[in-house]
Symmetry: C2
Subunit: 306 residues, 2 copies
Amino acid sequence: MESLRIFAPATVANVSCGFDAMGFALDALGDELIATKNHSKNVTISKIEGAMLPFEADRNAAGVVAKHMLESQGFPFGVDFQLFKKYKPGSGLGSSAASSAGAAFAVNELLGKPFDATQLVQFAMLGEEAACGSQIADNVSAALYGGFVLIRSYHPLEVVPLPTPPELYVAILHPQIEIKTEDARNILPNDISMKHAITQWANVGGLVSGLYSEDYGLIGRSLQDVVAEPTRKLLIPHFDSVKLAALENGALGAGISGSGPSIFALCRGIIALERVVEAMKKSYSQTGIDYLVYTSPVGGKGVQIL
Amino acid sequence: MESLRIFAPATVANVSCGFDAMGFALDALGDELIATKNHSKNVTISKIEGAMLPFEADRNAAGVVAKHMLESQGFPFGVDFQLFKKYKPGSGLGSSAASSAGAAFAVNELLGKPFDATQLVQFAMLGEEAACGSQIADNVSAALYGGFVLIRSYHPLEVVPLPTPPELYVAILHPQIEIKTEDARNILPNDISMKHAITQWANVGGLVSGLYSEDYGLIGRSLQDVVAEPTRKLLIPHFDSVKLAALENGALGAGISGSGPSIFALCRGIIALERVVEAMKKSYSQTGIDYLVYTSPVGGKGVQIL
């Protein structure tokens, strides 16, 4: 294989109760990326559409991932990337993770698939580090595996793919404001009460159970975050109003996507999805803040060749 | 129905990562209880074998549960209990929960089953309060539902029954020392670090996933408690040694049963179980502290009529 074009999905990390441990991929929103072999020993980025990102491979998430992968194999060839960013970086929808996971998947294909899924996540995490400053696995795992994932452990890395009930859809409202990941991290408390912690892990257990048993009600009741959302929502204007609008119009649950500012709402079925989207839009239209809206099945596909 | 004899299983609460949120029932260890209708408006306890417990209904877990249930129905008849305690109170194996859950189940039968499973748990929690000072649901839920359970929420109460993989067995070593539930509570920190909390809920997610997918390795890797065990184990002499002996001899995982002092080890299959039991016994025999050992399938039965 000399060249391939791939789809790398947008992802929602944390998923309310699953702070820093869960994520899921979207089927209908994601970046595209063309990776092409060449006879150099370099990684280059010849095209970036849709976002202002560095062209230098050492500063670009896709470039960093590719260099590490090729180096580990003795740099048998070079790779050029063309990146087609379909949604904005800084949205809280795993933009750098899409580049990182997409690059990891593509380079693995070009190399003849020497790496397993866990190794691909580990390489993709190096792209996350380059883009965001830390080796976070939730977005890249969800992008690579598709559907819902759980990061059970970082040392050693263990990603647990979870089942995705077939009628699960997500509505996302992306307020056009910027939240720095650093600010979203710094606003979090270092310690939490045992009581809140127990509430959180009981809900993680409920969410995982609901995904396996396709119990949409249980999924919804479990989508509560008493740990990060209470402080992080302060960075997202009118978060409570749009969440309430989603819940009052039939969303199973709603919360902050990643570190925000995007707000996600999970829905059962496409009719509920449409009602929820309208309610979220109506709610946010009153704020005077620009926003974008995305909808998608919660997907099982993950990164794939187009 | 005028009289019935029931089995009420011993239970392991917390289950390492699932502190205050998970529990499971044993098939091969539990109390028996005979409940007999009479024409009074009283709850009496005419016999208690195997433990020193109060005969006054208002101070006995079974009596308290029965009085609340009968009162809620206008006290249509009285009930007498005979309690056959088959393992020691204060073991960390849900002795009061067995009485409470057994009484709730039995009285519901005598009344013609007016109450659903959640209501039975709520009545049984009143027995737990009488015996232990707080309305804890994990042991009584496991006893009533059988198998593994998750307490997703207390307000409102929601018990999520989880599947139990068929080859799951438990070995329990009960050191003959006393730990007061109050001491086991007081030794816990009020706050925990966000980092530890995330580790804990990632493991809860892993454990629930492992139970559904019958992934015994994942169950074992998820049986980690970074929150309660590090302090509570200080109350259990030689805990680390016996846990290590279990793990080195093939246990999937091991931890403190409830608030202790019993130590449980989950095993896959009966051959592993036997090896683990021998290792735990050998380890504890060197301590000079008396102990009892129990083994059982992790059971799906729960409270039942004999």
